[in-house]
């Protein structure tokens, strides 16, 4: 049994996988804020899995943790995880001290990329030399890359930071200091800025209002979908991955989001033989609704060590 823990801004999601990578147990807990609360939630989630599986923590083959922020995957140190109140925490070391077992730590978008690849790119957990980008549409926008079955972090862990590629010289100023970043156009925060609401699922409300003909909603939806498609185009034109999987909070819209993104990509292909040759609409997918990609990916990365490769999954 391999255990993966996805520490999110509000919830901590933990899974236990069997030897084939199938989820055998899972649970959610509130995360809390600050180092002690985050550590406690992670420990409680692992404890709960020992109860659910009937195995002591040291009987788990491996434990992996996905967490937002800048992660040094070699040391397990986490910095700049603002939403969790973690400025600088040796998360791996602290968890190992409390759990008594080795813990691997990975950035949550990378973990979700690896989990999505396991589900969609290498469904039987078999070695795969396929390549995939995972496009995370959460509060922000970022991607994770799996190249020939291996997680690609880049030279300093900045691979996939496409949210800070400017796409409109006249766009709004981003928190990063640049103007018109992709993240300002296609993310939860982009929708919140353009479609203020108290609805618990703002993008769902946005799509419903657009379907009902609301003019502002139509415009905000158009901008969102076009810029998600632009992110897909950046990923394929730069890395030429086999396919792009859309995940994150906005992806819970599922099929309507995917259909809208594909329609934009198809409209571009109609204008550009070059883009048409790349067959972008056929290369986009969404994470299956309810699939805990980051927790599953964390479990698999925990199993594989820092040089994560799907070929290591039995």
């Amino acid at each position: 049994v391999r255990v993966g823990v996805d520490i999110g801004g509000t919830k901590t999601h933990a899974v236990a996988l069997d030897e084939t990578g199938r989820i055998v147990q899972q649970l959610r807990l509130p995360t809390g804020f600050g180092p002690e609360a985050v550590l406690a939630a992670a420990v409680r989630s692992v404890d709960a899995l020992t109860g659910l599986t009937g195995l002591a923590a040291e009987r788990f083959e491996s434990i992996g943790v996905g967490v937002p922020g800048a992660v040094d995957h070699a040391t397990g140190r986490v910095t700049h995880a603002v939403n969790l109140g973690l400025d600088d925490l040796d998360l791996g070391t602290e968890l190992e001290a409390r759990l008594g077992v080795l813990v691997r730590v990975e950035n949550d978008v990378n973990a979700a990329a690896f989990g999505s690849f396991h589900r969609l790119g290498s469904p039987a957990g078999q070695p795969s030399d396929r390549s995939m980008a995972y496009l995370n549409l959460g509060t922000g926008l970022a991607a994770g890359l799996v190249l020939k079955g291996e997680l690609w972090r880049g030279s300093r862990g900045a691979a996939g930071e496409i949210g800070h590629i400017p796409v409109d010289p006249h766009g709004p100023v981003c928190s990063c200091g640049q103007r018109g970043c992709l993240e300002m156009m296609a993310s939860g925060s982009a929708v919140a800025r353009q479609w203020p609401t108290s609805h618990p699922r703002p993008v769902e409300e946005l799509f419903e209002a657009a379907a009902a003909g609301n003019v502002l909603a139509l415009e905000v939806r158009r901008s969102l979908v076009e810029n998600v498609a632009a992110a897909v185009r950046v990923l394929v034109l730069t890395v030429d991955v086999d396919f792009v999987v859309i995940g994150g909070g906005i992806s819970s819209l599922g099929e309507p989001l995917l259909a809208a993104v594909r329609a934009v990509l198809a409209s571009w292909a109609a204008e550009s033989p070059f883009l048409a040759s790349l067959e972008l609409p056929e290369r986009v997918a969404v994470v299956p609704v309810g699939f805990p990609a980051a927790a599953v990916g964390a479990a698999l990365i925990g199993a594989l060590g820092s040089g994560a490769t799907m070929s290591g999954v039995r």
Copy 2:
């Protein structure tokens, strides 16, 4: 001795490398137009190297060819090499028939990427797990990627086609059918559109006129340099390569171009702590003036077969 042949739109450049990867002989011939002329130029360049090295072609350890257009590196077939008048040619097979030896064919930008990596990323030809993007500023704009010492072509050979990422929704229409593509802003054709001249080296004239205070030249140079910097940003934010090497015709400007691009990247860093953390100015270089990157890369790729990796270079 390994032989590399770079078939360009006007010149064919051939090199012979010794076992350490050093250039021991090189020559240039006019390429001509159409399949027969292209094949004849390649054969003549190899014949000339047999004379210069005193070795028969079958004594060469390997022969590699770099050529523009869409290249199937497994079969050696070239399509859509418009500037050479090659619509569809089995270049590898045809050359093998005429030369009597195995010939590897690679896209010229990929070949130049591999040659630049050999020179700048792995200077002693040693195995290297560093990663590099080669940004080619020729008539068009495209990049080649070397990831952990290996050429990365992508799933369909489209990796590095960043010239067709739109960066300005209000920019001019590109030959690819999209609007405001990076290639329309930062390439030889972009300069030709904005700075029409009969000067043999238009970008050199442009930089001289800008230095002399010509208002149009200042504006065209600003746009060129900013968009070259934008291409560097796309490459690092997406793939996070260790460094980016600028090559192609425009790179013959050398240090003044590099200094201008670094100044733009530094000005962005001053506005964005996130970009500052990536240290982009320090990660940019230009191909040394006169270094025949594509011919050298073709020779090395010829040596290594289709799974090109620097670790195979002795």
